[in-house]
Symmetry: C2
Subunit: 334 residues, 2 copies
C-alpha cells in the first residue's frame, strides 16, 4: 500500500489517492474541453454539475484498468475524461426525462437554467466525448464506447416504456440496469484495458468486472431510493417512487404482495394516484416483506461476480483496490 493511502481510507478514496496525478490531469482536461468559444452557457451548465463533485468512479475505473497493465498517461487520461463527459451528458438528459429537481445535492441544471439548456449542453458533451476518443487513435476503443452509448440510450428508452407497469419482471429490470448504468462501467473498464495493450481475455475480464460492479451499484442505488438518506444519495429519497419506476425493491414486493398491498401498488405505481404518506407506506411494505433485504442480497451477489471477474488479472495493489471497491459499493446498502 502506498504511504499516501492509509487503510482507514474508503476504497474510492484509496483509488483516488493512488491515481491522484492522472485524476488531476483528467480534471484539467475536462475543464479545458468543457469550454466553448461561442456559447458560455455550455461551461456554466457543465461546471455546475461537474464541480458539484460526484465520486468520479467511472474515470477512476478507466485509469485503474490501464494501470493494472502498467499504463498511464495521455490515452488513459483522454479516455477517463471521455467516460466522465458521457456520464455527465446522460445525467443532464436524465434530469430532463425524470423532471428531477436535485442532483448531487444541488438544484438540477434543468431547474436552474431550463430543459433546453440541459438537452443541448448534454448533446455538446456527447460530441466532446467522441472528439476525445478520436484523439486516442484507437478504433477498438471507439467501437466499445459507441456501443456503450447506444446501449445506454436503449436502456433509458426501455426504462421509459416499462415505467408504471407492474408486470415487469427481473429480467427486464436487469436489461434497464445494464443499459442505464452497467454499460458505461463495463466500457470504462474495458477501454482502459484496451489502451493499455491488455490481451483479449483480460479486456473481457475487465468488461465483466465493470458490468457486475455497475449492476451492483445500480441495485444499491435503487434500494437507497427507499431506504437511504438524501445526504447519502445526493438526490431526493423517493424519486423513483414519484416517477413510478419499477425498480428491484418494488418488483420483489409486488411479487410477494398481499391483496391489500397489490391494491396499493396498483394505485400508486400503475395508476400514479399518489397521496401524502404513500412513500412511507411503500417503505414500510418493502421493509416488512423483506424486499429491501432481498435487494441488498442481490446486490451482494453481483458484487461477488465483480470480484470473481478479477481472478485472472494481474495481482497487486490496483487489483486489490478494485476488489475492495466491489465490497464498498454494496456496503452503501447496509
Amino acid at each position: 500500500m502506498s504511504p499516501e493511502s492509509p487503510p482507514s481510507m474508503s476504497p474510492p478514496e484509496r483509488l483516488a489517492a493512488h491515481l491522484a496525478e492522472d485524476m488531476a490531469r483528467v480534471a484539467a482536461l475536462i475543464r479545458a474541453r468543457m469550454s466553448s468559444e461561442h456559447a458560455p452557457r455550455i461551461p456554466e451548465v457543465t461546471a455546475h454539475l461537474i464541480e458539484a463533485g460526484g465520486k468520479r468512479l467511472r474515470p477512476m475505473l478507466t485509469l485503474a484498468a490501464a494501470r493494472l497493465f502498467g499504463a498511464s498517461g495521455a490515452n488513459p487520461v483522454r479516455l477517463a475524461a471521455t467516460v466522465e463527459f458521457i456520464h455527465t451528458a446522460t445525467l443532464l438528459h436524465d434530469d430532463v426525462v425524470d423532471e428531477s429537481r436535485r442532483r448531487r445535492g444541488r438544484p438540477s441544471a434543468n431547474l436552474l437554467w431550463d430543459n433546453k439548456s440541459s438537452v443541448l449542453v448534454g448533446d455538446f458533451l456527447f460530441a466532446r466525448s467522441f472528439q476525445l476518443m478520436v484523439e486516442t487513435g484507437s478504433l477498438r476503443v471507439l467501437d466499445i464506447l459507441a456501443d456503450a452509448a447506444a446501449t445506454i440510450a436503449e436502456g433509458e428508452v426501455l426504462q421509459l416504456t416499462v415505467a408504471h407497469d407492474l408486470a415487469i419482471d427481473e429480467a427486464t429490470y436487469l436489461k434497464v440496469v445494464r443499459g442505464k448504468t452497467a454499460a458505461l462501467f463495463a466500457a470504462a473498464c474495458e477501454a482502459g484495458a484496451v489502451v493499455a495493450g491488455a490481451g483479449a481475455a483480460e479486456q473481457q475480464a475487465l468488461a465483466a468486472y465493470g458490468d457486475a460492479l455497475g449492476i451492483a451499484f445500480q441495485i444499491v442505488d435503487d434500494r437507497l431510493d427507499y431506504a437511504g438518506a438524501a445526504a447519502v444519495i445526493g438526490k431526493n429519497v423517493g424519486d423513483d417512487f414519484a416517477e413510478r419506476k419499477l425498480t428491484l425493491p418494488v418488483i420483489r414486493a409486488v411479487a410477494a404482495a398481499s391483496p391489500d398491498e397489490r391494491a396499493f401498488w396498483e394505485r400508486t405505481i400503475a395508476r400514479g394516484d399518489q397521496r401524502p404518506g404513500d412513500l412511507e407506506t411503500a417503505g414500510a411494505i418493502l421493509a416488512r416483506t423483506g424486499a429491501l433485504a432481498a435487494t441488498a442480497a442481490e446486490a451482494a451477489i453481483w458484487a461477488g461476480r465483480a470480484r470473481a471477474a478479477l481472478a485472472g488479472l494481474p495481482a497487486g495493489e490496483v487489483r486489490e483496490m478494485l476488489d475492495a471497491l466491489a465490497g464498498y459499493v454494496v456496503a452503501r446498502a447496509a
Copy 2:
C-alpha cells in the same frame, strides 16, 4: 445526362435519380440500424420522422462527394446513413427545445409521444451514428463528424442564449447558422471526399461547398418562415416569430426600423408580448423595408460561394448537379 434524369427534374430529384442505387442502400441501412432489440419505442419514433420524407439532402451530398472521385459502395453508404442519423437526432432534440408541434408536415414526435422519448431516441440515434462511422475504419472521418456534432450543439446553445435579443448582429447570426445547419452540410461533403480518397485541397473545397450551401439553405429557411407557405416548408409559418428568434430578416428589419417599428420588435421579440395579427404585421414590415429581399440576396451570395468552391473539383455530371443544387436551394426563396 443519364436517361433516367430528364431535364425537367429538379436538382435534388436529379441527384436522387443519379444516386438511386446507393440511396436505396442508405435507406435499407437506416431501417436496419434504427431497430432496437429491447426498446420498440426507438424504431417507432425514428420511423415517424424518417418516413415522413424529407429530401435526404445531406446523405445525397455525402454520396455525391464520394461519386465525384469515382467512389461508391459500403463506406459512402455508411457515412450517408451516419449523416442522416445525426440530422434526425438533431431534429428530435430541436423539436423539444423549440416546443414544436409540426415537422415535415406531420405532428412532431414530442407531441405524439413526449419530450422524454424525443430526447432519448435522439441520443440513441447519435450513438448509432457513431457506431456507423466507426465501421468505416477512418479516423479522419470520425474526426470530421465528431467536430461537426460539437459545432452543431454549440450553435444550438448559442441560438438559445441569444434568442429575444434585438442587439444580435449578423456575425452572431452567421455563427448560429454555421452551427445549426452548415456544419453538418460541410461535414457530409468533406467526409464523402475523404472516404473516396480525395486530396486535401479537394476535401477542403467540398467542405467549403457544404458550408456555403448550408448557410444559403438556412437563410432561405429563415426567410420562408415569414414569406413561405406551410406546404412548402413542412412546418408552421411563423414558428421563428413565435419563438422570438433573431433571424436574418428580423435583424435586417430591426437595423432599418422606424421608431414605431422598433417598438413593435421590442414588444414582440424582446418582451415576447405577441398578439393576434402580429405575425402579419411582422411580414408586412419585412416586405416593406426590403428585409425579405435583402435576405434573399444574401442567400444568393452564399449560393454563389458554394458554386465557386466547386471550381477545382472534377468536372462532369455530378459536379453539374451540385452546382445546380446551389441554385435550386436559393430558388426556394423566390
